[in-house]
């Protein structure tokens, strides 16, 4: 059963709301089943949609006949691409050398993966819509499936005519002089790692309600999305409804993990259907659709080479990475997001001056790839850390020691990695040492020996890492991604009762944003936490965030914007208070909603009184000509990098290949901690998700490109029985480049845990001489390691 022990060391802030362990304000609603999701939205005259989805993975569409479907009682319409304005999805994001392949909203001439939407049926209920969907007759001419990036089947037909070899990217870059270093290196270690396709699998699948009002010419959309403003742009482009008349509204989102960043073809199709029919249309995705047709992730092969000297000093690194893009490369440079980030962060927390990589990404007849928590980092982290362990074993150097010898040191900050990432601050060595202590490493080694003697195999894996967080413009530039607007604005408004509403374009998917942003604002304003609410995002009123909630950024970027806006508001309130109290505003203090003048016998007024007077008394206007209590600020932080170290202990049953994770410990550093409860939720949830990637989750296809994992009976998520006890310690290295030193932590645990678990398996089975070469490590794969060892004698 999962449990958590958390401790915090080195608090940087004096007691205040920032840095305080307060319960999450959204939990009362979410835990009591009072969350409101898209499925809860209902409107007069609403109708329900089901998609007709492709069953072949690669085929030409010869004809679509909707006659039978349309005549079924209860059916309002059955629409194909021919019935809707031509619309495709492709975004403005761009990396030099990347071929973009727009995805049609509904397949027109060809289908390119199982589950691609071919038609929409709209009916009085989802039941009837599904009945009718079965009656839509699509005639296909099947084509050979490309099931492996870069591998052509016999009779190969390109997935996209313009890309005869299916390749969307094929480039490399070199830093320092890796050729020379490898030529002269005393030791070279090599590692291959294959990561299966897996996916975010949010508890709430995707969903959209679209309501076009022909009279007003407006389009209202409720959607389970991470990026409402981005979606609004796409909806406007597809529908022709001007952006100010498109309104995207959100309530709760039941998890996103990246899957809901991009605008999806289905969301646009539903909006277009509503426009065509002039009625509200609702689509609530089911699990089978989500597993088949929602964006997938991972799907990479990494080949890595490490050169060291006799003391184990890392001389150079080389990587060759092949990414499986899926059938389209349509959003957020998604098809490349996995392998490209893998390449750019490969050197990790180590001083490596000579590095070269080559990345190839190819289309396959599978669902397109999109970001998923820990995108790209996981492949780099797991391949590199496994390789370091293998080098340590071979060189006879302890694993902690080898890492310590090569790690970026405290006095190296700011440290510029060879690929151009500038690490602002961090606790790399300290996190490693903390995990060494938490895992009682010396005792563990004895225990491991004793266990082995009695036929039990336990292992320990360690995984120290650094990750870009926040992702402002500067961080985007550092990673080599030049066209991604990653700034936020926030509006902080105080009403006449002295209470505050925060409006942001970065909606919550349950992470705790409502709590942390309220903490920031309440601390800056000096009012109780309960006096601040973060409103649900409505694109027509929220300040624009073109990035939305993703990439461990909301606390850093939205948090900074909220902090700055709250500072502005505080100044304005104190200015008015100064006028009212006839004193110099700069000496006033504010705490718990009360403004005090320390000079005048501690004369005081409440914040609410100040605001009320400002509305009533015209005299105030000589001091503050525009006494409105709303402040909006824009924020684009400097590049900042969080770090952590995860340690995992597993027991392997060598006979069955079963792996039990006994314990996971972690030391995390996300700079200034706003709220330990929220950080631990993110870190531990991430580690649990990482456990899934390490041991359970993979999307399987057969050789015809047909997906085999279409229910949760086949796609295995970690459950409470697989997730172990977690222990977490907090380290705090505030960033010099962000508001109050905040760094992100949203993806952290997901990045670190797979490598730690994989390395623990390798450690448990070190005596076999076998290595971990894939993720997930299913029981049969673990058993194969044992058998390979037996075969070697």
């Amino acid at each position: 059963m999962a449990a958590v022990t958390g401790t915090s060391v080195r608090p940087t802030a004096p007691p205040g709301l920032i840095g305080t362990r307060v319960n999450r304000v959204e939990d009362a609603r979410l835990l009591a089943g009072r969350g409101r999701y898209v499925a809860d939205v209902t409107l007069p005259r609403i109708k329900h949609a089901a998609f007709v989805r492709a069953w072949p993975s690669h085929a030409r569409i010869l004809s679509i006949d909707t006659t039978r479907a349309r005549t079924l009682p209860g059916v309002v319409a059955a629409l194909t691409a021919a019935d809707l304005p031509p619309a495709t999805l492709v975004d403005g994001n761009w990396i030099p050398g990347l071929a973009k392949t727009p995805q049609p909203v509904l397949a027109r001439d060809k289908v390119r993966f199982v589950g691609e939407a071919v038609a929409i049926v709209v009916a009085t209920s989802r039941y009837v819509a599904e009945d009718a969907a079965e009656l839509v007759e699509v005639d296909y001419e099947q084509l050979p499936a490309v099931d492996h990036a870069g591998r052509r089947p016999s009779g190969h037909v390109p997935i996209l005519d313009e890309l005869p070899d299916d390749l969307i990217y094929d480039r490399g870059e070199s830093f320092g002089n890796p050729d020379l270093m490898f030529r002269d290196a005393p030791h070279v270690f090599v590692k291959d790692l294959a990561l299966a396709r897996s996916m975010a699998a949010p508890l709430e699948c995707r969903g959209t309600v679209a309501s076009y009002d022909p009279a007003a010419g407006s389009l209202d959309v409720w959607c389970s999305t991470q990026s409402p403003h981005l979606l609004r742009r796409r909806l406007s482009a597809a529908s022709g409804v001007a952006e100010h008349r498109v309104r995207v509204m959100m309530h709760d989102v039941g998890g996103g993990f990246g899957q809901k960043i991009a605008a999806h073809p289905e969301e646009l199709a539903i909006a277009l259907a509503s426009c065509a029919l002039g009625i509200p249309v609702k689509w609530i995705e089911d699990r089978r659709e989500n597993l088949m047709a929602a964006p997938h992730a991972r799907g990479q092969r990494v080949h890595l080479k490490l050169a060291t000297d006799d003391d184990g000093r890392f001389l150079a690194l080389r990587a060759r990475i092949v990414g499986d893009a899926g059938a389209y490369s349509f959003n957020a440079a998604s098809a490349l997001i996995e392998p490209y980030i893998t390449a750019r962060v490969m050197t990790g927390v180590y001083r490596i001056d000579h590095y070269g990589y080559h990345v190839a990404a190819g289309l396959t007849n599978k669902s397109p790839v999109a970001p998923y928590r820990g995108v790209g980092f996981i492949a780099a982290q797991t391949a590199r850390e496994l390789l370091i362990d293998e080098a340590a074993r071979s060189l006879g150097i302890d694993r902690f020691e080898l890492r310590r010898r090569n790690m970026i040191r405290p006095d190296d900050f700011p440290y510029r990695s060879c690929t151009g990432l500038v690490f602002d601050s961090g606790s790399y060595l300290e996190a490693l040492t903390t995990v060494e202590r938490m895992s009682a490493y010396d005792d563990f080694r004895c225990e491991q020996e004793q266990a082995r003697a009695s036929g039990r195999f336990i292992g320990l894996g360690i995984s120290p890492y650094v990750e870009p967080t926040g992702w402002g413009t500067e961080a985007m530039n550092q990673i080599g991604w030049h066209s991604f607007p990653s700034n936020d604005s926030a509006r902080v408004s105080m009403d006449i009762s002295g209470k505050v509403t925060i409006s942001i374009g970065t909606p919550s998917q349950g992470q705790g944003i409502e709590t942390t942003l309220a903490q920031i604002s309440a601390e800056v304003l000096g009012i109780p936490l309960d006096d601040v609410v973060v409103s649900f995002t409505d694109s027509s009123s929220a300040p624009t965030s073109l990035a939305g909630t993703r990439a461990s950024r909301a606390a850093v970027v939205s948090g900074g914007a909220v902090g700055l806006a709250s500072q502005d508001l505080r100044e304005r309130i104190l200015k008015v208070a100064g006028a009212l109290m006839e004193t110099d505003a700069s000496i006033l203090t504010v705490a718990d909603g009360v403004i005090t003048d320390p000079s005048e016998d501690a004369a005081s007024m409440t914040v609410a009184e100040v605001v009320q007077k400002a509305f009533q008394l015209t005299e105030i206007r000589s001091a503050e000509p525009e006494p409105n209590f709303t402040a909006t600020r824009f924020y684009d932080p400097g590049a900042t990098y969080g770090n952590a170290c995860v340690g995992a202990v597993v027991e392997v049953d060598p006979q069955t290949g079963g792996v039990r994770v006994l314990r996971i410990v972690g030391a995390e550093d996300c700079g200034t901690v706003i709220n330990q409860v929220v950080v631990e939720g993110q870190f531990i949830g991430g580690m649990a998700q990482g456990l899934g990637g390490a041991l359970l989750e993979r999307l399987a296809y057969d050789e015809n490109g047909e997906i085999l994992t279409t229910t949760f009976m086949d796609y295995l998520l970690p459950t409470s029985t697989e997730v172990p006890h977690f222990e977490v310690e907090h380290l705090e290295s505030p960033s010099p480049y962000t508001w109050r030193g905040i760094k992100g932590v949203g993806e952290s645990g997901t990045i670190g845990a797979p490598a730690a678990i994989a390395a623990a398996i390798a450690d448990a089975l070190a005596h076999t001489g076998s290595t971990v070469d894939r993720l997930p490590m299913l029981p049969e794969d673990v058993r194969a390691m044992v058998e390979q060892g037996e075969d070697r004698g």
């Binding site: 039941y127 089978r288 006979q655 085999l708 009976m713 295995l716 697989e722 299913l778």
Partner: protein, 295 residues
């Protein structure tokens, strides 16, 4: 994931049910706990015109012990009720041991003994268990009642020896003979999942400590619960030491199918590992058995 349209009937007695089954024939499906049929309906893998709900038929639920002569478990007995029944623990410890491996607690609160057996999933625990303990299936239709041995009940993947108008009303478990012990072993990727391979083992010893009965039945390696008959024969007449068990298990040929969760050779390997563990566990339980021969 919405079912195709179907009609719904909720009879209150077995007789009424049998009438309905006879008149609807192939077009109808009975629903018990719905833990397998529910998903099949939602995925439209089953599209019956009529669903006949057994949940209001009280006479189908319940466990009766026959005074040292075994048990009768009504088809609508919830899996969790059987799992926690002292009568089951006493008269069929193998069933009590295997039940916690069936799915999760909440599913066992709804899922029924009869539903799991009638569903005839070769990966399920209960078909292997009832085969190993040589239970009998009690089947009724409008034309009467018949009883067949478990061994003859499971015909293939999701196919039981039931005509469309026949209802499984109960399973009859014989008393555990003297000096007979059992064990269940399985391996699943996650707890609560269908096992990749499961093994039910029953060992009976004669007065001299020599095996006079061995049942070894596997889930997950064929289209029906598969008895390891070569290994069974190899054990009979021997003292069940680890080495003897290992030799018997090694002599067994199996040819499991491959699928997403395991290749044929991995499954074959697991049969060996789990059969060894189950037989050793069953043998160890002889130690604490009062009926153990002395000397």
């Amino acid at each position: 994931m919405k079912p195709a349209p179907f009609g719904y009937l909720a009879p209150r007695s077995v007789d009424e049910t049998l009438e309905l089954m006879a008149s609807h024939g192939d077009d109808a499906k009975v629903i018990a706990g719905g833990q397998s049929l529910g998903p099949l309906l939602n995925l439209r893998l089953a599209t019956p015109a009529m669903v006949i709900d057994l949940n209001r038929i009280l006479e189908l639920a319940g466990i009766s012990a026959h005074d040292g002569d075994g048990l009768t478990i009504g088809a609508m007995t919830r899996q969790h009720d059987a799992e926690t029944s002292p009568a089951v623990a006493a008269a069929c410890p193998l069933l009590a041991e295997a039940l916690p491996y069936v799915a999760h607690r909440t599913i066992r609160n709804r899922g029924t003994i009869g539903g799991s057996l009638a569903h005839s999933d070769p990966a399920a625990e209960l078909p292997a268990v009832v085969t190993a303990v040589r239970a009998e299936m009690v089947i009724r239709s409008r034309s009467g009642e018949r009883t067949i041995p478990a061994e003859e009940f499971f015909l293939g993947y999701f196919t039981a020896a039931l005509e469309p108008d026949e209802l499984l009303v109960a399973v009859r478990v014989p008393a555990v003979p003297a000096r007979t012990t059992s064990a269940w072993q399985e391996f699943a990727t996650r707890s609560g999942d269908y096992a990749i391979v499961g093994v039910a083992a029953v060992i009976g010893l004669d007065g001299a400590g020599v095996v006079d009965r061995a049942s070894i039945v596997c889930s997950g390696i064929a289209d029906v619960p598969r008895q390891l008959s070569t290994a069974q024969s190899a054990l009979v007449g021997q003292e069940p030491t680890s080495a003897v068990i290992a030799a018997a298990v090694a002599a067994q040929h199996t040819d499991p199918p491959a699928d997403l969760v395991g290749s044929s050779s991995y499954r074959r390997h697991l049969v060996g590992v789990l059969a060894q563990r189950a037989l050793e566990a069953a043998t160890e339980r002889q130690e604490g058995n009062d009926d153990r021969p002395t000397g």
